[in-house]
Amino acid sequence: MNPLPSPFVRAALDAADGLPDSGIAWLDIARRENLQAFAEGGLPEGRNEAWKYTPLRALSQRAFVLADRTAAAGIAVDPTLFTLPGVDGARIVFVDGAFRADLSSLDADGIELAPLSAALSSQPEPLRFALANRYRRGAADAFVHLNAALATDGFVLRIAEGATVSRPVHVVHVSSSSQADTAWHVRLLVEVGKDAAADIVEHFVSAGDATQLGTVVADVVLREGARLGLVVLQDASSATTLVRRGHVRIDAGAQATLHALELGGGLVRHELHADLDGDGARFDSRGVFALAGRQHADTQLEIRHKARNTASDALWRGIADGRSRGVFRGAILVAEGADGADAALSNKNLLLSGMAEIDTKPELEIYADEVKAAHGATIGQLDERSLFYLRSRGIPLAEARSLLTLAFCRAALESLQNDTLREYLGERLVAHLPTGPAE
C-alpha cells in the first residue's frame, strides 16, 4: 500500500466523490468497495508479473477528471466517423463514456438492447451478480476495480433464446476532442441465449486528439449451443489510453469467435479471458496489432478449458515499427477433468524497425489427460529474399513492404465471415501500415 496516493489514484477518488448515489443500495456498496480496493492497491507496478512489460509509472503521475456527462451529451459527432461497411444492425454509441440516444438505434429483431442506466432503473436485480458480486477484491485488478467504482454507463444486451440475429450489433466508443485529460468508464453485459446466434462489432474511434483514458469491462455469457462472433476494431487516436477487459463464458456446445484489430491508441491494454465451461465449448480468437510511433499495445489472452472436449484456437499477429512496443501473452489452462481438450496458440510478430520491441509469452498449463495442445511464438523481420523478388518484378520498395506485411497478417483476418467488413479491415490495416501502399 502506498503511503501517498499517486495523482492518478487521487483523481479517481475525487471523481468518485462527485458521483451521485445510484439509489440502489447493493450497487452503491459495491462501488464503494471497488473504489477502496482500487485506492489501496493503486496502479500495478513493475513487480506485478501481469504488468511486467507495460509500465504504468508515467500513467500514475497523470490525473484524469471524470468526463463531463452533460457536456458529452452535447458534443457534435459526425456519424460517418464510425460508419462501418457490412455493419448495419442495431447500434449503441457512447461519447466519452456517455450513452448517446441520438446517435444510437437500439431496436432490432431478436435482441433486447438497453443502456445500463435504463436497465438499472427498470430491473436492477438481474444485474446484481454481474455488477456487485462478480469482481470482488482479489479477483480483479486495478482497472476492473476502477471501472466497477466509476462506470455509470454501458449497456445490457440480450439475444433471445433460439434467435438468429443476422445483422451485426455495432458498439461504438467515441473519444471526443473537447474533453482533455478526462476519463470515462463503460460496463458491458451481453447474454447470448440458448441456441441463439449473433455478431457484435465493438469499435473504438476518436474525434480528435484529446488525451483521454477509457476503460471498458465486458462480461459475455454464451448459453448452451449459442454462437457469437465478436469483432473488436480499435482505431483510437494515439493520445488515448485504453484498457479493455473482456470475459467470455462459454457453455456446452456454444462457440465464440473473436477477431481483434488493434491499430490506434497510445497506451492500450486488451485483456480477454475465456472460460470454456461446458462440454464441447469452443473459442477461436484471431487478432492483429499494428503499431508505430511510440504506441504501446499489450494483449493478454487467457483461455481456460474447464469441461470435456473443448477446443480453442488462437492465432495472433503483431507488427511493430518506429519506437513502438507490442506485448502479447497467451495463456492456456486445461483444468483437471477437461479431458479431450484441443488447444492451439500461435503468435507471430514482425519487427519493422530496430527501435521497436515485441515481447511475447505463450503459456501452457495442463492438468487433464488426452489433451492436444500446441503453441508457438516467433519474432522476425520481413524476408529480404521475398522483398527482392517483388522488387525485381517492378513493385516499388514501399509497396513491396506493405504487401508482405499485409500477407503476414492475412491468416488472422481471413476467417472473418463478413466479407464486406473483412475487406474494410484489410484496407484499414494497409492504410495504417507504416510503409503504406505507394499511393
Binding site: D383, E384, F388, Y389, L390, S392, P396, L403
Partner: protein, 263 residues
Amino acid sequence: MHMLKIDNLHARVEGKEILKGLSLTVKPGEVHAIMGPNGAGKSTLGNVLAGRDGYEVTQGTVDFAGRDLLALEPEERAAVGVFLAFQYPVEIPGVNNTYFLRAALNAQRKFRGEDELDSMRFLKLVREKLKVMQISDELLHRAVNEGFSGGEKKRNEIFQMAVLEPKLAILDETDSGLDIDALKQVAEGVNALRSPDRSFVIVTHYQRLLDYIQPDFVHVLAGGRIVESGDKDLALKLEEQGYAWLAETHPELRKADLAGAPA
C-alpha cells in the same frame, strides 16, 4: 545498336571478388548462353544485373539501351525491361499470384508513363499468356509459388516473363532440377517469347537446355570473366570435354577455376 553492354565488370559478394572484368554485348533479338564451372560467377552476374543487395560492383559499367543500369533500383530495372528468372523462386504465402502480377505490371506501366490495366483487361492478357504457356489457371489463384513443385515454380517464372514482356530476360539456371518434360515446357515458353526486339541471357550449367533453345552465342564464364565465346558448337565441345582444356589457352586460370565439369 546494343541492348546490353557490360564492360569490365568487377563485383564482390561478402568481401570476395567474384566477377573480375566481365564484358559482354547483347544485341536486340539475340540469345546468349553463358556456361561455366561451379563458382565461376554465373549466378552473381544475374543478381548484379537485377540489383540484388549484397552484390557490390567495384568497377566497370553496364549500359542498358542507353541507361546506366547500375544506377537504377531493382524495381526501376524491371520497369525499363530487365527480367531475372530466378534459380530459386521464393514462396510468398499470403500474396495472391494474380494480385502480385497485376501489381507488378501496373507498377512498371506507371513508371513508363503508360496507363494501368484494370482487372478486366489484365485478366484478358493473362488468359492469352496462359494459353501460350500451357499453364492451368488454378496456379493463378494460389499464393506466389506457395506449394508449387520445382517445375511449376520455373514455369511460373516464364509465365511472369510472358506477362511482363521484358526487353531482356536473364534466365538463371532455370533448367536446374527439371525433368525432361518440364525442361521442354520451359524451353517452349521461352521460344514462344523470342522476338527481334527481345534478348535472352541464358545462364546454365548443362548443355541440354540448349538442345531446345538454340542460342546465337555461347560464352564460357570462368574465373569471373568471359574467357571463350563461340556458337552452339562450343556448348557441345564443353559437354564432351569439360572445361580443363581452357587452361591451355588461358594460363592465367587456376585449376580451381575450371573444376566442376558439366555432368
